[in-house]
């Protein structure tokens, strides 16, 4: 008899979705969060697509800061290209959003423990059978049939079970973000800056948060991070373009833009969310994909508990279902991100100069793509290959 059927490590969106899904399948479930609070600190730009979000939860004004209908892209020479969005977006209050998801999991019967730092696994006969953790300086342990590791970009649970999770420098963005007040920006528009001067190998973003506030942040590719510090670049940008803004909160963090790990299960263990590298490699967005991965993981875990098989074989639906729903897209996005990486600042400027002549309401994805392809024909081949999977 184990203490729990399923133990989820990490109380972010992926963890809460996993825990809730497992509990809904009748599994006795515990979710452990290392920090004092669910949802804090917020290491996230907080932007999501509306359609993706609605698959998992009804939008609630309590945790929606702004609703987005417009996108602006800026080239290295600050040429602005505006276009409308087919799908609306939201900028979230992640702290409240994560709370709502964890609360929903608890309503489904999940036990939750904060301040629980998992520092080891209980492994018997090559199978994960529980976790060791510290709570307020006290060593504790809980036994389980399945552990789901949703412990974020810094995930160590997978490594404890022998899964190789270390991300290559080129697949990691070094990120920093300031939430600022006293800033006058369009509250319905997200604003992206691409090019080496803004954020080498990544992009800079401005996401409005309502009441004269916004998230301003950037990600620098790990390979450029040696000479470009995300903190310094963000503050230099704010000082230059928004000298009157005040920084209310600042956070830093890594954004894994890698392919999903090849191995996301072991005997008695599943990895999900950022820990499994489920972030979209083009956008760096990981909320919705993490929720998707988490929900599938929890669902499969719950079914495995019913069937009594917690081995890799018993959990095999998880990588299969992930691949079918998002994983195969990620492989495509990864290939596209590699192609985008090769576009020079000069080419980006030329593309922007071409696009800016088109009124924003007429700017379709096809037009953008055509402009990119004219400047860099190879990308046409790369994208075609990526979509064809060859």
């Amino acid at each position: 008899m184990t203490d729990y059927d399923v133990i989820v490590v990490g109380g972010g969106p992926a963890g809460s979705m996993a825990a809730e899904a497992a509990a809904k399948q009748g599994a006795k479930t515990m979710m452990l969060e290392k920090d004092r609070d669910i949802g804090y600190p917020v290491r996230c730009g907080e932007g999501v697509g509306a359609t993706g979000l609605k698959k998992f939860i009804d939008p609630d004004p309590n945790w929606i800061a702004t609703t987005i209908s417009k996108v602006r892209m800026r080239s290295p020479d600050n040429t602005q290209v505006d276009f409308g969005m087919q799908d609306a977006g939201y900028v979230l209050h992640r702290r409240l959003f994560d709370y709502a998801l964890a609360n929903r999991a608890s309503q489904a019967g999940v036990d939750i423990q904060t301040r629980a730092y998992v520092d080891g696994l209980i492994i018997e006969d090559d199978s994960v059978c529980g976790v060791k953790y510290q709570y307020m300086g006290e060593n504790r342990q809980l036994t389980s049939k399945i552990v789901i590791a949703a412990d974020g970009v810094e995930s160590r649970v997978g490594r404890m079970a022998g899964i190789r999770t270390a991300t290559k420098l080129k697949d990691m963005e070094s990120g920093y973000q300031a939430s600022v007040g006293n800033i006058d920006v369009d509250q319905e528009m997200i604003d992206f800056f691409v090019g080496d001067n803004w954020a080498p190998g990544g992009y800079l973003w401005i996401f409005p948060k309502g009441d004269g506030m916004a998230n301003i942040g950037l990600g620098v590719s790990g390979v450029h991070a040696k000479n470009h510090n995300a903190h310094d670049m963000t503050h230099a940008f704010i000082k230059k373009y928004f000298p009157k803004a005040s920084v209310l909160t600042s956070v830093c963090g890594g954004i894994p833009i890698a392919k999903t790990l090849k191995k996301i299960t072991a005997h008695g263990l599943m990895l999900t969310g950022d820990a499994a590298r489920m972030v979209n490699p083009v956008t760096g967005g990981g909320i919705i994909t993490g929720m998707e991965g988490g929900q599938i993981a929890g669902d499969v875990a719950g079914q495995a508990i019913q069937s009594g098989d917690y081995t890799i074989e018993g959990l095999k639906d998880y990588p299969q279902r992930w691949h079918k729903s998002e994983g195969k897209n990620h492989e495509t996005f990864y290939r596209i991100s590699q192609a985008i990486e090769e576009i020079t600042d000069d080419q980006l400027n030329k593309i922007a100069h071409r696009l800016v002549k088109t009124p924003s309401e007429n700017l379709s994805l096809l037009k953008i793509f055509t402009a990119v392809a004219r400047e860099k024909p190879k990308i046409l081949l790369d994208v075609t290959r990526a979509f064809a999977g060859v």
């Binding site: 920093y176 790990g222 890594g254």
Partner: protein, 65 residues
């Protein structure tokens, strides 16, 4: 030897994610380098968004064993 500049770490875990030998331990508000395991590849220093890690003993820094 990799050093952590005291009181400046934000505990975001980016360094942990790229460490090829799992030589960095991170808790809620505590980070430590396992010097016996560390291979001094320095990529944690480069990737740190707020420049908290250092390999130079002459710079400000303390070891956390």
């Amino acid at each position: 030897m990799i050093l952590v500049k005291d009181n400046r770490c934000d505990f975001c875990g980016t360094c942990v994610a790229v460490c090829p030998v799992d030589a960095i331990e991170l808790r809620e508000a505590d980070i430590s380098i396992i010097h016996d395991t560390c291979i001094d590849c320095d990529i944690c220093i480069w990737v740190c968004p707020i420049d908290v890690l250092s390999s130079d003993v002459t710079k400000e820094g303390v070891t956390h064993d």
